[in-house]
Symmetry: C2
Subunit: 540 residues, 2 copies
């Protein structure tokens, strides 16, 4: 700082005897004052130049910037953390991690706030100018980092002044000391993660300020869409469902099988199949592992399950149909009664519901913020309705429907609502379907040939599993094929399998995406599929 | 029994005084003798009739026979056992179970031996005539049960006179008290389970008496073929491999994904694809989840794996190619160096080998009886060869091959033999392949642009996993696509995914059937696939 006390005039000769005139004195005083100001200005300028020079030396230069393309040149092995592991007890510790920038906001020229995330977790981080560590230049640069960049961060764990509402981790934040870009988007994002994460209800408010990101836009730009906390959570649950399904069945002595999706002949009539050019001939995509898994039972596997794609060439453009979806299939020889299988499937589904609820409550809550849903409910002792009872519930509710009529989608949902009101459950079983409504391989009831040993399982009034005892004797199978207009010769391998002796068996097939959609009430099956396929969508 | 003492003549009048003539006496004696014989014959016939009547009452009638078609009419809930659970300590206990008849053999008219099996396990059972329990009729009927029938058995656990060599359970046998047919073959078997189970070596002996069941016959009749102990064991192991794979990766924070097999455009050039008629347009079957799993990395999944079918329209008729096989795929964002991924894959594979060896030693031994194999060996610290080192080993062994040449199948096997001799391992890694030999998405080495950050894993001299660090920057990716003659616009969704920012990542894909084939040395990949598909086979 320039001194405010005027300096002694250095030009005043010491020891001069003769006194100057008044005018001369005035003039001298004026000049002295002038000189003082000049000196003052010079000092100021020098100071500024010095300050400027000091500032230009960016003491943070090594602490930020864009990293070169990682070609695995070096391996330092410095430990990196998952932000989900951070707790307030780590206050003051230095941590190092890679994360995605959801958003950033500069506050003046000395501070930038970041929302950083790893999969479903997010945390607040700050870059603040500080001597020797974080330069103005670094802060300025930090403010230019595009959203959705991947950054490598070194920082100190600190406690925020108040709970951070905008991050999933609210009780700690990161004071950044190093900040590098690993990768950043080169094109404008089709929509922001924040917009993609808003509850549907937000868009429906009259005075909404937000542009809705509609489902098609999301699916066209699925890579960005999948990065939302909601989607990260949905697919964590999807992964958990197959794990819970497999683990339960393995523990019950089931063998996992993989049956071919390429079939020499169309499997099961009814549902349409996709033809495939197979070298000089033709093949078809399997509509289900139905025939193959039953053949495994004839081959003494006793209990099998398969997790695999299922293809349906049905031109159905609804909220719950896909042309390719994941089938969770199982088939099981039983000893006395197909209810052994029905009960095992029931236990299996409840173990999935329990597993999701116990281990993923946080994820379910997060998803619920975007797609509000009343909690999925089930009973310890599952409600089992005979088909006739289900019809009666509908009739009592005013639906005009005969005892052997098919229950259509609308009435299924209505049945779901009736059951929910009466029994307080979102999950139930309907058993003993009319034979007429089921595929040719369904075993007729032992005493009433109008009925069959078949069942559907429902979640929130939509079918998620269809199954039955199958016919294991070739003569009856052939009879039933002919009744349904299927030429037994067209499924020779299948029919022949039963000519070689086969135990009584039953099974079922679950649509993975439907379980996820209905458990979470996502309202559209496409939200439960990574890259959904429907009659109009083959990309991405 | 007829009395042997001749009876008193009843016709001799008592108290007669006059003596008969000599002739008369002779005549009388003759007649008496005649009468005695007649009586004797009558008594015998009555005795026989009585015995016959006694025998016709079949006191076992309720203890055997063919059961009616099981339509789940009743549910008694009588506990049934698995024969694998039986031990000599259960001697004298009554057990009840369902099993398949592998073979039966009558010994005289009073005894029939059975070999009964459940999946991989088999046991000896006997039906022996015994008062009140097992009638002659029952034994006779038992002798007529066709092989491969499914029977329901009640019997008593007993200790055999000597270890039963022909069954997997040698220290106990079953004395049958009830025997029912649940289902039996209606047509002649194409081959017997015993023939299908013989070691290949048996057929190769000069004086062999056995007809070899060749692979095509087996595959044409796969349902019977799959019933052998060997095949039951093979597919138990196949199921275990996916479980070990998934469990290891889940424990390391991986998410299981399911990516679509129906693709709007051909994925990856090179390998040919199967075209599919998709409504009015066309689709293609995915040759691998390569592009989709990388897109999941761009979508922040960080670590993903997929177990799913992979389709290759290559007209390759070899021992190790299928047109549809199971891919065990994984992809992982890494922090510093692709070796993080290579090391994780290495640990994963070793955990699979360990898991098989520890939990399935019995099954491995059984399979080895039919397909002899030296035990699969690996090192605690896996051998990692640079490609250049692998080439050097071959050159030192006399192979003419340049440093950047492809190692063909024959030389791969040779390399396997060299490594086995030198390092005593059936498992090793080759790293740093020449870039030229790898797909367009492979990351070049940081310092030597001729090489790449890519690797293959080998089992018994055959590649089972191919993987690499991938290019995660669009500019370089496009450059490399063009170099390989691929129009980037044809994979727009894929390239665009990287425009949105993507962490460095690496991964790999394993062929499930190859792992099984090579671990067990089955010599043909079709033996490791339930219903194999090749250019000439789409059935069963």
């Amino acid at each position: 700082m320039a001194d405010t006390e005027p300096p002694k005039d250095p030009q005043q000769p010491e020891g001069e005897a003769a006194g100057p005139s008044k005018n001369e004195l005035k003039k001298r005083a004026k000049e002295a004052e002038k000189e003082r100001k000049r000196q003052e200005r010079l000092a100021k300028e020098a100071e500024q130049a010095k300050a400027k020079a000091a500032a230009d030396v960016d003491y943070s230069a090594q602490r930020y910037g864009k990293l070169p393309l990682n070609q695995s040149k070096e391996r330092e092995g410095r430990p990196r953390i998952q932000i989900s592991s951070l707790t307030p007890s780590q206050e003051g510790q230095t941590v190092f991690f890679r994360a995605r920038v959801t958003a950033s906001r500069a506050q003046g020229s000395k501070m930038v706030f970041f929302n950083l995330r790893q999969k479903t977790d997010s945390i607040q981080a700050l870059v603040v100018v500080s001597p020797e560590k974080v330069s103005k230049q670094m802060v300025k640069w930090a403010g230019t980092i595009p959203d959705e960049s991947i950054v490598l961060v070194e920082g100190t764990v600190q406690l925020p002044l108040e709970e951070v509402k905008s991050a999933s981790i609210g009780n700690v934040e990161i004071l950044i000391s190093q900040l590098f870009i690993v990768s950043s988007p080169e094109s404008r994002l089709p929509f922001s993660i924040e917009d993609a994460s808003r509850p549907e209800a937000e868009f429906e408010k009259e005075d909404t300020q937000f542009a809705r990101v509609n489902l098609d836009t999301r699916l066209d730009n699925r890579i960005v869409d999948l990065r939302t906390q909601t989607n990260q959570a949905i697919f964590k649950l999807q992964s958990a469902v197959t794990d819970l399904f497999s683990s339960f069945l393995r523990a019950k002595g089931f063998t996992e099988i993989h049956t071919p999706k390429l079939q020499g002949a169309a499997t099961e009539s009814g549902a349409s199949v996709f033809p495939v050019s197979y070298f000089k001939g033709q093949a078809f995509l399997a509509q289900s592992p139905q025939l193959a898994k039953q053949m495994c039972i004839a081959a003494d596997f006793e209990r099998v399950f398969e997790v695999g794609p299922v293809f349906r060439a049905e031109n159905a453009n609804t909220h719950r149909h896909l042309t390719e979806f994941m089938g969770l299939d199982l088939e099981m020889a039983f000893e006395e009664h197909y209810h052994e299988v029905l009960e095992l499937i029931d236990e299996m589904l409840k173990s999935i519901f329990r597993g999701l609820k116990e281990s993923y409550s946080k994820e379910i809550e997060w998803i619920g913020r975007q797609f509000p849903a009343d909690e999925f409910k089930w009973l310890d002792e599952t409600l089992k309705l005979a088909y006739a009872d289900a019809i009666k519930l509908l009739v009592d509710d005013g639906v005009e429907i005969g005892p052997l009529d098919d229950i259509n989608t609308e009435n299924e949902k209505r049945l779901g609502r009736i059951v929910k009101a009466k029994y307080d459950t979102d999950y139930f079983i309907v058993d003993k379907f009319p034979l007429e409504l089921r595929p040719f391989y369904t075993m007729p009831d032992a005493t009433n040939p109008i009925l069959s040993n078949s069942y559907d399982f429902f979640m929130r009034g939509e079918e998620i599993l269809s199954g039955a005892q199958r016919i294991h004797e070739p003569a009856l199978l052939i009879e039933k094929m002919r009744e349904k207009g299927i030429e037994p010769e067209s499924m020779k391998d299948y029919v022949d399998a039963f000519r070689l002796g086969c135990p009584p068996h039953a099974g079922g097939g679950i649509g993975l995406e439907r379980v996820i959609m209905l458990f979470l009430k996502l309202n559209n099956i496409r939200r439960a599929s990574l890259f959904p396929r429907d009659p109009k969508r083959l990309q991405p």
